[in-house]
Symmetry: C2
Subunit: 340 residues, 2 copies
DNA sequence: AATATATGCTTAATCGTTTAAACAAAAAAA
DNA sequence: TTTTTTTGTTTAAACGATTAAGCATATATT
């Protein structure tokens, strides 16, 4: 009734030989001294029985699972979903499986995921760290578990990481607005202490400062991740109120941009005539937005691939030094930042 | 240098007791007769050493991995991405891990995935079967591997499945168009022999037939999945040409709708004034489309959850009979099918 | 012919966990 | 006091694969 998976033992019994012999043949070791005839027979039987090696057993023996644990901050964000996909593809190419989970930007969930994936003996981690996970990362380092951070990192913890130059990208897009003639540029960002967000904000502030000095000051609103829908609206209201309403908004992420654009539509403001909009990252949702958005495009492909490559290198050569990769992001000029 | 994961052995050595005793304590077996004092000590040491049971070893022993293999037809389609997400969440709740892959609608890739996941000893499969995978499904059945098909199934292979009533849904949305006064309704579908697609087409054809008899015949164009971008445009051109151009298009999937709408924008046709549009499924991209689409919303949540529940039941009670679940989909009325 | 080497396969240990069975010592029943 | 039962712990086999070491037998070298 219950058909167990066929094992080396089954083949050995069938052929009338020891398990070891079968193992030697099927693992194709050049130094094995099994006779041609026997090898052929064993391979035949293996095929007819449709033998598939039990990777669980192999893993237990070898201590390697060929599995990567991936923890992203928020899988419902297409940015992370895409990265996850790329990582998965690249990992598959290198013969690794990816098991992943979303921390939903919560340190507690992140910890739970790390424990879970550790107990499943992943060979290493690729992590988009969220706020307050510093010690989790330190722990992993202490356990000598191979690890690559992406998108964000902790400047005071030395780790492998693959990130982009958020400061530069942010400056680039603000410059674009300024070049188009916009002066009162607001920014809506998350009140997130993580490095990537701080860098985006710093890029914005310094660029404004460099251009306008003390004549025009930056106009930044920071938003709580867990109440973003409401707070984005309030933020926009705030930026538009007063004597000198802003004429352009820079959204620090695609999720903020989506929320913002929906509200701007509700206000019956037209982009870019009434207000210019620029944003970090893309979203499928922008495909059908009437006005193609000027935005920063991160090299997702490169980030994902590099992360996997660095990780698998660490796994196979643990004594390799740490790799810290910082990529440049592209500015995609749409029509949402053109002054007409 | 190299810190191995701590094992029962480490704890046993530390406490000065046998591995078995440690195992009995840490697996919290009610029938164990280990003394309170010893149990307490072992638990303490386990905690300080930060012991995490090695699930690989547990799996090898138990023959269960608490892992589900998920194979979707196309992970870049948000429909499947969402389902994957829901399945993942539900599985996690039931203490299962999901390992998944995308067959990209290719039988060969599907086979590869099944072999791969089998060798990783998944306890069961949830599969969105693609064209030509009939024998793969039959094979799994013969090996007594628990299995649930979703979205599609093979009428001539008896399996667990969770699907929706595509015929009914299709009829419902065509009826909506007819009720709004549209008469020449075209449909663009995939030339896919799978049941779900045939049912959507049949729903369209029979509804047209029922309403208009022989006065107006259905106007269906079937499209090759691998060349859909081009063929959708050709199809729309075709439907719009001639003496009696169509006044409404029913797209059989969200991917077709997205391609179609982009082309319709290029043609400078306005929805619904120049042409009405209805579609199966949603897409994030529709969020910002100027005209909210009338579409069929599948109960993704229910499909995903039911699939996991049926599968885990099959895993724990293999002698349970097959479950075949057919859900109804909802018609979401937008503005893309209103005659003005 | 005696010894060395090569060939072909088997034995047995190992990975970390589970668990039935064994065993010794203590407590209870006779 | 002897026997039985209970209590607390250990032994050992098992899951399926890998692999160093062992052991015949056959072939090659002196």
């Amino acid at each position: 009734m219950k058909k167990r998976q066929v094992s080396l033992k089954d083949i050995a019994n069938e052929v009338g030989v020891s398990i070891a012999t079968v193992s030697y043949v099927l693992s194709d070791r050049k130094d094995s001294r099994v006779s041609e005839a026997m090898a052929k027979k064993i391979k035949e039987v293996a095929k007819t029985l449709n033998y598939q090696p039990n990777k669980i057993a192999q893993s237990l023996k070898s201590g390697k699972t060929n599995t990567i644990g991936l923890i992203v901050a928020d899988i419902s964000n297409p940015f992370f979903a895409n990265i996850a996909r790329i990582i998965e593809d690249e990992a598959t190419k290198l013969n690794y499986t990816v098991i992943f989970g979303s921390s939903d930007e919560k340190a507690e969930k992140s910890l739970h995921l790390i424990d879970f994936l550790s107990s499943r003996q992943v060979d290493g981690f690729i992590i988009v760290p969220s706020e307050g996970t510093d010690n989790q990362i330190i722990q992993l380092k202490q356990q000598n578990i191979p690890l690559v951070l992406i998108d964000r990192y902790f400047p005071n913890i030395s780790t492998n990481h693959v990130i982009i130059d958020n400061f530069e990208a942010s400056g680039k897009i603000v410059n674009e607005l300024i070049a188009s003639g916009y002066k009162r540029i607001g920014m809506i960002a998350y009140s997130n202490p993580l490095f990537h967000m701080r860098e985006r904000i710093r890029g914005y502030q310094e660029t404004i400062q460099n251009h306008f000095g003390n004549n025009i000051s930056p106009n930044l609103v920071e938003i709580d991740f867990n109440d973003s829908r409401k707070q984005v609206c309030t933020a926009i209201d705030g930026l538009l109120a007063g004597e000198n309403p802003i004429d352009a908004i820079f959204f620090a992420t695609n999720t903020l941009a989506i929320l913002g654009l929906k509200y701007i539509d509700e206000l019956s403001l037209r982009v870019p005539d009434d207000i210019a909009i620029v944003s970090f990252d893309e979203g499928e949702a922008f495909d059908f937005y009437y006005c193609p958005l000027t935005h920063i495009r991160q090299p997702l492909d490169e980030i994902g691939k590099k992360a996997v490559q660095v990780l698998t290198q660490q796994i196979t050569q643990p004594d390799m030094g740490e790799k810290q990769i910082c990529l440049k992001a592209d500015l995609i000029k749409g029509k949402s930042s053109i002054r007409r």
